[in-house]
Amino acid sequence: MLTKPQILEALTEVMDPEIPTISLVDLGIVTGIEINEINDVSVTLTPTFSGCPALQVMEDLVRAKVQTLKGVGKVKVETSFDIQWNSDMITDHGRQMLLKHGLAPPPKHHGYIELDILSDVACPQCGSRNTDMRSPFGPTLCRSLHYCKNCLQGFEQFKPVA
């Protein structure tokens, strides 16, 4: 009989299609795992952004991964808003992995977002806080654009979302 920790463990190997250093588990979007007595598995994901174009791809990746587990029955993967994602759900390990990809991790916001929290961010290259926000919208829905006045480089932040 398969167990939830086994499934979760397997899903730590499924990476975000747009940020390949962070797993879907560390991103905090795996919100439900159900296993029945004949090893049918149902996984629920919650979208980071409702308009995220990677949603379908993530569902497919999760389904393919769970299907590789020994003894698994039918696999169902669905996306649901019942638990709403916010950026505080990214794990500490996940934050390290965002940095590894060159993205500033989102600050913990505890439910409250204003422009200030978005612009007070350390440069992922040199660590300086002497940075400017250039735009709250970046190349993907989850990123904002910044500039470091210390190392004179542009960088992106994974946006805090409440």
């Binding site: 952004f49 977002i113 919208f137 829905l141 946006k159």
Partner: protein
Amino acid sequence: MQALKELLYKMADDQLIIGHRNSEWTGLGPILEEDIAFSSMAQDKIGQAQALYKLLHTMGEQEPDVLGFMRNAEQMHCCHLVEVPISNYAFSLMRNFLHSHAELIRFEMLTGSICQPLANIAKKYRGEIKYHVMHGSTWLKQLGNANEDSNQKMQQALAGCWNLALGIFEPSPYETDLQKENIFEGETALKDRWLETISPIIGKASLKLPPHNEWTPAFGGRTGNHTLHLQPMLDEMTEVYKIDPSAEW
């Protein structure tokens, strides 16, 4: 059920149509960051429309793609504000500011709705639309206070948008049902909160609301009576889909 469907349709159609209009700035934005901002907001809004259509589908309506792409203007429930052409950048910015503020308040109100799937969606959307509102409010203050020329352009945009924006709050035939069943507090409550929220920002941007006696809300959109601009926009938006509606993408 009908009351809830009417509410979902108008929210979803507003998101789809303003999302499509915002996307028309892709490649044309006055500066790169604004090109990206309007494209991102378009993507958010169209994604939000999709989840609302999915919810309608669970209530017996057609598939999301059919709802988004196969209806004609008279079957759409969007307000006139979202369907008129993008005009100049000041107009598009003002429209997005006025509409996003109304959406944010609407979704905040809906987080307490008795309809749980809608309340869950509303909790998600308010975090996303918060960014649209910050974008609009920042630019409004920036351009309203920059110089005479930018102030004048924003003032003209406000005058052009105002009665259209009041049309967002066209009362539905189901207002009392929605209130009685604790689904939604209604368009009048929404409009009052919206006015309270945007008036100080408009003041800080050194702009003036049109005099009260000139307020004539552009109603009709919620019942399928649209401006001449909607059908051509739908024709363009759905052109590729309609070549082969059964195609797998």
